[in-house]
């Protein structure tokens, strides 16, 4: 695509990663230089590293295999879109598997020393003063995975080929941290580690208009440290109880009461039919409540929908 200035370019060699700032509106591009290499990925708010990428919220909103058009979200309680995937030439990504670690290779395979994504990410972010504890669960670009009928994940053969790429537009200033996944004994990268090309590009005005989300908070519950009762970051590793602590729960106590709902004969017959179904509860009140909330979710839920009726 024309009209994009290259801000930064770097080749990620096998066994390495790179922490690189990607400012709001800029595009992170990762390209295959060989045939099929998984890139693990971490991301931090460049101005507040305690806001970082969250696989859980991303998985919740976009499923196990995010694709073009989906977003990478920051962790609760911030919960803002960090990036949108604006181009993905393959469409196999994973937010199910955690990053591989030195422990994993030693525990499961007997390697005392082995390339692993946690250590590569940790070494990459050390350039910005972050520690191995700041590495978080990764977004796994091009990792081709599935879930079997018993609920266990498994890794399929990598489908990406030379020249395939992903592009992500940043919604706020981010420290992006991709690395060449160190897994060479799985089909994650088809049993061979290969280099990746990393670029940061300026987006075009048209791309910014089409893809950029507002930087400011859109919901009160997308919180900032200003909302925290404890605003300071701990500097001591030892944990000690605050003797003056008195809990202030956001909503407490939870108080319940009954609403008397009048149903005509034919409406009450529906209660019995849902009871026979078995998935809506057994008591009249539980059945009506389940059906009512299912209706409400279907009609009022915002954002990507993944709930099924009657769930």
């Amino acid at each position: 695509m024309t009209g994009r200035d290259v801000v930064f370019e770097h080749v990620l060699e096998p066994g390495t990663g790179k922490a690189v700032p990607v400012l709001r509106g800029q595009i992170l591009r990762i390209e295959q230089l060989g045939d099929g290499q998984c890139a693990d990925f971490n991301a931090f708010n460049l101005h507040d590293y305690k806001e970082y990428f969250h696989t859980g919220r991303t998985r919740h909103l976009h499923g196990l295999f995010p694709k073009e058009g989906d977003m990478l979200w920051s962790a609760p309680p911030r919960e803002r879109p960090m990036f949108t995937i604006i181009r993905d030439t393959v469409g196999t990504n994973d937010v199910l598997y955690p990053r591989c670690t030195g422990f994993l290779y030693e525990y499961q395979y007997g390697f005392e020393r082995h390339t692993n994504c946690h250590d590569i990410l940790a070494e990459s972010i050390r350039e910005y003063g972050l520690t191995p504890d700041d590495v978080h669960d990764s977004f796994n670009f091009w990792m081709h995975t599935g879930v079997d009928q018993t609920g266990h994940p498994y890794i399929k053969r990598m489908l990406a080929a030379k020249g395939d790429y992903v592009e992500l537009i940043a919604h706020f200033d981010i420290l992006a941290v991709p690395n060449v996944c160190g897994a060479d004994i799985f089909s994650t990268s088809n049993f061979e580690l290969k280099p990746l090309k990393l670029q940061v590009l300026e987006s075009t005005p048209k791309e910014r208009e089409r893809f950029l989300e507002p930087e400011e908070r859109r919901y009160r519950n997308q919180r900032t440290p200003a909302d925290f009762k404890q605003k300071e970051i701990r500097v001591m590793r030892e944990l000690e109880r605050d003797a003056s602590y008195v809990p202030e729960w956001p909503v407490y106590p939870i108080v319940t009461h009954g609403v008397e709902v009048e149903l005509a004969d034919e409406e009450y017959a529906l209660v019995d039919r849902l009871r026979a179904n078995g998935a809506f509860g057994q008591t009249d009140g539980a059945i009506v409540r389940h059906a009512f909330f299912s209706w409400w979710i279907e009609h009022y839920m915002q954002g990507p929908k993944h709930l099924h009726a009657g769930e």
């Binding site: 005509a264 009249d284 009506v288 409540r289 209706w295």
Partner: protein, 57 residues
């Protein structure tokens, strides 16, 4: 025609949601009417569950 009274237990947060629905003036003017309306609408929109198909839990 007889009516049947079903007691639906809700908490204060669910009550707030019902307040919003009442304010819309589309589904009823009381919490009970809104719940009844939503319940009936769900059954109308999902006859598959009335026919005995098990919901996804």
């Amino acid at each position: 025609m007889t009516t049947h009274t079903v007691t639906v237990v809700i908490n204060q947060q669910q009550e707030e949601m019902l307040d919003r629905l009442v304010a819309e003036q589309r589904h009823g003017s009381t919490h009970a009417e809104v719940i009844r309306s939503g319940f009936v609408a769900f059954c109308r929109e999902h006859p598959e569950f009335l026919a005995g198909e098990r919901g996804e839990a």
